[in-house]
Amino acid sequence: MNEPVASEPPEGLVELVEALLLACNEPVSVETLGVMIGQETSAPLIEAALERIALRWDSHRFIELVSRRVDGQRVWHLVAGAAVAPYLKAADPARAPRLSRAALETLALIAWRQPITRGEIEAARGVAVNPQIVKLLTERGWVRSLGVRDSPGRPEMLGTTRQFLTDFGLDSLEELPDFARFAGQDDIDV
């Protein structure tokens, strides 16, 4: 990145990179942009185009070009500033997301079996735990780390928070039904 810029990026390239950044739902790396645009466009030229885009959005009050490192790779995307958040929240409360089945199962296991590791959740559900789900539950303030277990690999143990209790209308974890009492019965009326 310290190499001198080969040449001023043509306006068409700048606009193409801008359109690609906006059309991709995920942050993109210079390498990915290179694959998209084609070999004849050098990485420094793409970087120069990104610089121009950054400059262009610099004066925008609500949008900026952000680069961050993900898995050791520098990726770029246009991001809305925090100031936009309240406006977006004002719109359409009916669109409030629901927990997916996978998220509900993960949360249920964490609630009833805490402290529980990802490995144990995976064993119980029979599928890998999507890190996004744990992230979602953490961001929602319902799940947190309880430290690491003193066993090989030092897996992180997950548990629920007090906010989980508040949000689910529980005074304490003891209020969660003890399913062992119902063992052998098929259905429990909720």
Binding site: A19, L22, A23, V66, H77, L78, V79, A80, A82, V84, A85, L88, K89, A96, P97, R98, L99, A103, L104, E105, L107, A108, L109, W112, R113, P115, A124, R125, G126, L136, T138, E139, R140, G141, R144, S145, L146, G147, R149, D150, M157, G159, T161, R162, Q163, T166, D167, F168, G169, L173, E174, L176, P177, D178, F179, A180, D186, D187, I188, V190
Partner: protein
């Protein structure tokens, strides 16, 4: 079968017959002249017996309403034979259609069935076939219409930026009934051992661990004395002590004591993932009111 009248006398299926240097080729179908591999691929393109029939009808410029059943049946069977010879696995529907066509063909040879009302036209044995072909033709055209419309991800792309970070966790409604039903479901599937059930304890160490972490999330550090509750008696002291020991063992918390017998301060290790202030706003409020 009026459209067959179009064929010059002496030559069957003249409009279907390929010509080489003006000479008609009696070999059918004409598509044989493409390389065998390409032919197989081409034959596989048919979306089913109706599609194949429509192809034959369109190709020979036949009026759907006046299908020459004998001729079309013969061609249909030839294509079927060809597909079989190319080892193309035929769906049962193709054979069903062949049987149906043959049946219609034979019924065309019989005198028309008399109908209840004399003034009504006799029922054409082809009527249902014609109706289905027309319906399918409409479907293919409706599909083409859809395909020609400007379509997202092909002709245009919605643009978006990443929403502000604080919005990433849009509030998901808490649903206790759903959560309980989910756990029941997991237990019923049997992958989760019932034996590991949560045991109700009068004072739960796990719950106490949670409370300590909650306190630290708000205050960042607190004194040991603040954690104990006089009203819980000896059992409370024991539970709290075990909880603190458990938390320090798992490095969720750390503690320090400046002087021997001085106050013990609990705090979160600086580099710990624990107690990330994700939900610290809400927790601040609560710990403040405690």
């Amino acid at each position: 079968m009026s459209s067959e009248a179009r064929a010059p006398a002496g030559l069957r299926w003249v409009d279907a017959t390929p010509r080489v240097s003006g000479e008609p080729m009696e070999q059918l179908p004409l598509d044989l002249y493409i390389p065998a591999d390409a032919l197989a691929i081409w034959l596989e393109q048919f979306e089913g017996p109706l599609d194949l029939l429509l192809y034959l009808i369109r190709k020979h410029n036949i009026d759907i309403l006046e299908i020459p059943v004998a001729r079309v049946t013969e061609q249909y069977l030839e294509y079927l034979a060809l597909m079989k010879s190319m080892a193309i696995e035929l769906a049962a529907e193709y054979l069903l259609m062949a049987a149906w066509l043959t049946e219609i063909k034979s019924r065309m040879l019989l005198p028309p069935e008399p109908r209840a009302e004399d003034d009504e036209e006799p029922l054409d044995p082809r009527a249902e076939l014609v109706a289905r072909l027309l319906e399918y033709e409409r479907t293919t055209r409706a599909a083409t219409y859809l395909d020609q419309r400007p379509r997202r991800e092909r002709d245009w792309f919605g643009l978006s930026i990443e929403p502000p970070h604080r919005l990433a966790a849009r509030p998901v409604p808490a649903d206790l009934a759903g959560l309980i039903a989910t756990m029941q479901g997991l237990l019923r599937e049997g992958s989760v051992q019932r034996a590991h059930h949560v045991r109700a304890e009068p004072l739960s160490i796990r719950q106490r661990m949670t409370e300590i972490l909650d306190a630290l999330a708000g205050w960042r550090r607190c004194e040991l004395a603040d954690i104990f509750r006089a009203d819980e008696g000896r059992l409370g002291v024991a539970v709290t002590t075990v909880a603190i020991l458990e938390l320090s063992r798992t490095r969720a918390i750390d503690w320090s004591q400046e002087v021997p017998f001085g106050p013990v301060t609990l705090f979160r290790p600086a580099d710990e993932p624990v107690g990330r202030t994700d939900s610290s706003e809400a927790q601040d409020e609560r710990t403040g009111s405690e």
